[in-house]
């Protein structure tokens, strides 16, 4: 049918021009032009499976960062009965916040696994995905904030600051410094995983 009656559904207006077969969402150009390409169920399922894999790796990475920071402590050998020279994660509020926030993040990712599995089983449903996007955004902000706060303290511990007369303590507390630095590095990997997860969720929500 070549005559152009005005119809409401974009797919059938394309049919009137003979561009695409009836009742499929795929474009005739096979994805060359962006507007005419709709993500298929198979593509959304693939993205959802990758999202699940990313989520499991985020659980592991967040937990690793939290435990690496939580087990960082050192007592210097010249500790006496009256003067204790020790350092633990709870001596700095930033490190305490770091451990708490990454513990929360890894628990959240564990609890979000069922939603991810649901979005694999039903690729076209956007409800679970939007819920995950909302919470992932909050967790991204939370983890990035706590990672950065811990980083600034680790930087100060290494270098100190001459203007404010803060001395770097890494010369004395070498093991503590190493453990906290390693935890901070792992936390940035976790944040990169979370950001990738969020972007993929946003991209796979497209309906047209």
């Amino acid at each position: 049918m070549k005559d152009s009656t005005s119809v409401d559904i974009p797919e059938t207006s394309a049919d009137a021009r003979g561009e695409a077969p009836l009742f499929t969402g795929k474009s005739s150009s096979g994805g060359g032009i962006i507007y005419a390409h709709k993500p298929s169920s198979a593509q959304k399922k693939g993205l959802a499976i990758f999202d699940l894999i990313l989520r499991i790796s985020a659980i592991v990475t967040c937990l690793a960062a939290a435990t690496a920071m939580g087990t960082a402590e050192q007592t210097l050998p010249f500790t006496t009965q009256f003067f204790k020279f020790d350092a633990g994660y709870d001596d700095m509020p930033s490190f305490l916040v770091f451990v708490i926030c990454f513990g929360i993040a890894s628990c959240y990712f564990l609890l979000s696994l069922p939603f991810s599995i649901v979005s694999i089983i039903r690729p076209q449903a956007s409800g679970p995905r939007i819920l995950l996007v909302i919470f992932d955004t909050m967790v991204l902000g939370l983890t990035m904030a706590s990672a950065a706060a811990a980083t600034s303290i680790v930087y100060l511990a290494h270098n100190g600051n001459s203007s404010t007369n803060w001395l770097g303590v890494c010369q004395q507390f070498t093991d503590f410094c190493q453990a906290t630095s390693g935890a901070v590095v792992g936390s940035f990997i976790a944040v990169a995983i979370i950001a990738l997860m969020l972007i993929l969720s946003g991209a796979s929500l497209r309906k047209h």
Partner: protein, 192 residues
Amino acid sequence: MKSGPVEYAVEAAEHDSSSSSSPRRGLSILDFVIRVAAFVGTLASGIAMGTTDQRLPFFTRFIQFKAEYDDLPALTFFVAANGVVSAYLLILGMPLSVLHIIRTGVTKSRVLLIIFDTVMLALLAAAASAAASIVYLAHKGNPKTNWLAICQQFRFFCRRISGSLIGSFGAMVLLAALIILSAIAVSRRPRG
């Protein structure tokens, strides 16, 4: 039929914008308003932190007691990151947002905005919280590492750097809301 897909794309865009549903246009307008607010917040924070400069009235022959934002690397990073986010919002975010008000059917540029907003949220969260931990140290110090609080001497500097965090944290919340709005707008069916 090389022009076929292009024709269809133009038709689809025109068709969508002519029959754009009002919930989607409302979402786009809300998106633009929030973006303007976030731009104002980050710009104000960057300027407030960048214009800190306090010199104490006493000095010795060798040392002058001064505090500026570039004495502390975390505060320098804060100024730079706020500058980057406000420039992004001005140059890319707000024009694309206006485009979404006019043509509500496009999704590729919305996904692009989601990607950039995520990156900017992470950057702003990092900068704001690094600066916040330095501001906390400036207020309270740390007895274990023998870092003394400097707020007693540098009062004006301390007030400035504490206040400039507010705009940044507010913009962080607004960016998170923008990501969620864009995700909801992308997931709606073409007819609303």
